[in-house]
Symmetry: C2
Subunit: 490 residues, 2 copies
């Protein structure tokens, strides 16, 4: 035990010891039946006499906080914990370095991921259109659990120690096969397994950008990327998105003016717009990146979830020489808590990224990687993909039908060819914040557009709806609630 | 499938399709018995005629790479893969942004973690003194595996979806109880669960430092921290370490001159020296941090592994108002692949760190957190700690005995009161790199001192030996081999 003891007048050591315990007991941290350290060992740890500790424990016993059981030790008694009053919110109590910009709470990504709806609105069956993930109910959890159990039995200690920093080799081989079967040829030696695609993003940013550097993004773009840039003091420059994806024609003057260090793009079923970059723009984008010597980060978070139209080549496949870093994930298609994504990079940057991965968290859980590798094969992935596409396609249609029925004339949108999202523009002057409050009251959540824009005010008229996460019946109910909420604003 | 197709003369579409598959098969990415996509679905995906795909597959079949099975599809045949020649190492083939500083391989942390000894030296029983972790054999792997299985059965889907970004609340409560039982009072609301303590470090650095900012470190200090600073363009300033830890008396002029944004310290059983910061220096350090408005990052990676002497209060316990951010881990004491560490912070910085955690990888595996929480209690942790201390203490003694016996007069050292490491200074002029090569030949690895210094040349005379990872017999053997290696240098 490491209790702070001070040689100050008026506060004898025994009292400082008993104060430590009584505070921990009264605030509920040490709960009933917790055993206190033996008097002998505590005296030795603290370098005080045994009498001092006996006095401290006697005082705790007299206060009714602990009881000694003969031959067994001293145990905490059940007490009603004191409720600690929440901090006053007065920043001036903190050290100066903790005041100012740090004090801003930045929860936008967290909000969209974890807090779909406020509690306590009395709605028993809220509909969540706000999240960024697929439907976890499609994932065979129990089967995966059994695979994990088998791996623990099979690999024992080895499966539970640090693995290779770039990822478990058999898993990298499987990823290579799965990607190749999808048309994107990537060698296992160029794959780095990450803790979800968010980590892949974060590593690339750490490797290539310094504070105040510029990055090209689609506008709107993934809020988690914008939040990451802001947190790391990196300055995004937006390029508009139309139905064919990023307006690559507008890119060249920006490259000339701002000398950005990275182009971040989501070419397939873009987050949040759902747009898919056309084939000619893909070639133009890679050519520009080469000409202006700027790396491309290709975020392909749901590239295989296509419901109509022809496939487009990955930017990575068009890249002749290590200009494109490709990022994808199994969290969206399989299950979120897997926390397994990957990136693929050619050239010296690969080693830099592996090193940064190591410096960020040493390695992604070896056990999870081994279990995923046992679970995954080209055949099983393709089968799961086909099933998922069948279901999500129907849900997309259910949402389009519901929007046309309940929100006819109030919104404009394009039907995305794949992915998870429908991106609505509200027609007429609507306050997005006010709509969200009404919607939550009505029992439906959505991701407000502002979070996806560099200039937040440009997003006021937009909402992102996730059609993949809910059943068709819930989608219909959710959109009708959204229409109610909109009506109440008028 | 997303195959790149070009409308170029002389290369018909069917040939481009067959080229894609033949390359994937010949380089071994698509292995025998992999099923190619059905002709119908591939034609649809690529927006080409069915005849085109039939021609492509016919060509692959004629080349002996695939075979069609009636009513089942087209499958890859076993072929001898072409060995891809490794890249020439000529950086000029890469885009310009990939040349220069990026090309430097920075594998020091990885080396010390994952590559203890070079392969193929013909030593059948190598001794590893190089790693930074405890002995994973002490961890009840099978028991933990059973707990994990129980959690999968118990929590099903919920255990496998995204958890709270700051960590599973019951686990934060347990950590709070364990820490309080060790004398460090921390509330669950101030705990952030991280992917190992390395991630906690990385988050704090991202939150508080920008490129070119200064950080105070002990010199020598943890190589993983130095590597992290270097990777993120942060400039470390060293304060010497003596037997009482960081020479805090030398700190004030550095604070005045350099205006550092952070003080990084390992007060207990410092990595690599094993020194423990004295009580008076602890108080002086916290007072200086307050006076000069600089946050302290307290890395307490093995603070509870004490074998002699009195405990010292944590800096966090001496901090009146949110100046100290405390970091610790379960990876060292329990098992590495858990990848569960945590930090404790008071004030607005806590929210900033939670946000950054979210932006770095969304959340630490919920399943692992739930399993750890089921496994961990104050009682079980204390019991495991007592057992570990008993064993490591003996190993420390075994190493000291062996060093005195085999290396008498060749090295100087202090016996650490706890932790994992013995820090040896070589007496006389010895080339550290040459010694490591000899040692590896003799079948023993160590962590060379250079990696722990800002000025690498200052570390030439030092080696860090991990005494916790090996049995006593291996320790004796390893030190005698080290003596042999040293003798060969003369």
């Amino acid at each position: 035990m490491r209790i702070v003891l001070d040689k100050k007048p008026g506060s004898p050591i025994y009292q400082q010891i008993s104060d430590f315990f009584s505070q921990a007991i009264l605030t509920g941290i040490l709960t009933a039946d917790t055993r206190l350290p033996s008097m002998r060992s505590l005296a030795q740890d603290l370098g005080v006499s045994r009498i001092t500790v006996e006095n401290a424990y006697a005082r705790l016993e007299a206060d009714g906080l602990v009881a000694s059981r003969v031959g067994s030790g001293t145990y905490v008694l059940p007490v009603l914990p004191i409720t600690v009053s929440p901090s006053s919110g007065d920043d001036s109590a903190w050290p100066v370095w903790q005041q100012g910009p740090l004090a801003r709470s930045k929860r936008s990504l967290q909000d969209s991921l974890f807090r779909h709806l406020a509690d306590g609105h009395g709605v028993t069956d809220p509909v969540y259109f706000s999240g960024g993930i697929g439907d976890p109910c499609l994932f065979p959890v129990r089967e995966f659990g059994r695979v994990m159990q088998r791996v623990i039995r099979r690999d024992g200690m080895e499966g539970l120690s640090y693995g290779e920093p770039n990822g478990y080799l058999p898993l990298r081989r499987t990823i290579s096969q799965v990607m190749t079967s999808l048309g994107i040829c990537i060698n296992p030696e160029n794959i780095l397994v990450t803790t979800g695609s968010q980590q892949a993003l974060s590593l690339v940013v750490q490797a290539l950008l310094r504070s105040d550097d510029m990055v090209i993004v689609e506008e709107p773009t993934y809020n988690g990327a914008l939040d990451l840039f802001e947190a790391l003091h990196i300055r995004p420059i937006g390029v508009p998105v139309d139905e064919q994806g990023m307006c690559v024609e507008q890119l060249e003057p920006l490259l000339q003016t701002y000398h950005p260090k990275l182009i971040y793009t989501i070419p397939n079923f873009q987050n949040p717009t759902g747009a898919c970059l056309s084939s000619s723009r893909r070639r133009a984008l890679v050519a520009l990146a080469l000409r202006y010597n700027v790396p491309i980060l290709e975020d392909d978070f749901v590239g295989d979830l296509r419901y109509d139209g022809c496939t487009q080549p990955a930017l990575k496949s068009l890249d002749p020489c290590g200009t494109v870093i490709y990022v994808s994930t199994f969290s969206k298609m399989l299950m979120p808590d897997l926390r397994v994504g990957f990136l693929a990079a050619d050239g010296p940057i690969y080693e830099t990224l592996v090193n940064l991965k190591c410096l960020n968290d040493l390695a992604t859980s070896n056990l999870t990687q081994r279990a995923l590798n046992s679970f995954l094969s080209v055949g099983s992935y393709q089968a799961h993909l086909r099933k998922t596409i069948r279901i999500y396609k129907k849900r997309r249609e259910a949402m389009v039908t519901a929007v046309d029925r309940y929100l006819n004339g109030c919104v404009a949108y394009s039907v995305p060819q794949g992915g998870l999202f429908l991106w609505l523009r509200l027609v007429g002057q609507v306050d997005g914040g006010a709509l969200l409050r009404q919607a939550v009251d009505a029992g439906v959540g959505f991701a407000p557009g502002a979070g996806f824009f560099i200039d937040k005010s440009a997003g006021e008229q937009f909402l992102r709806l996730n059609f993949a996460y809910q059943t068709e019946a819930s989608i219909d109910k959710g959109i009708s609630r959204l229409a109610e909420a909109l009506a109440r604003l008028d």
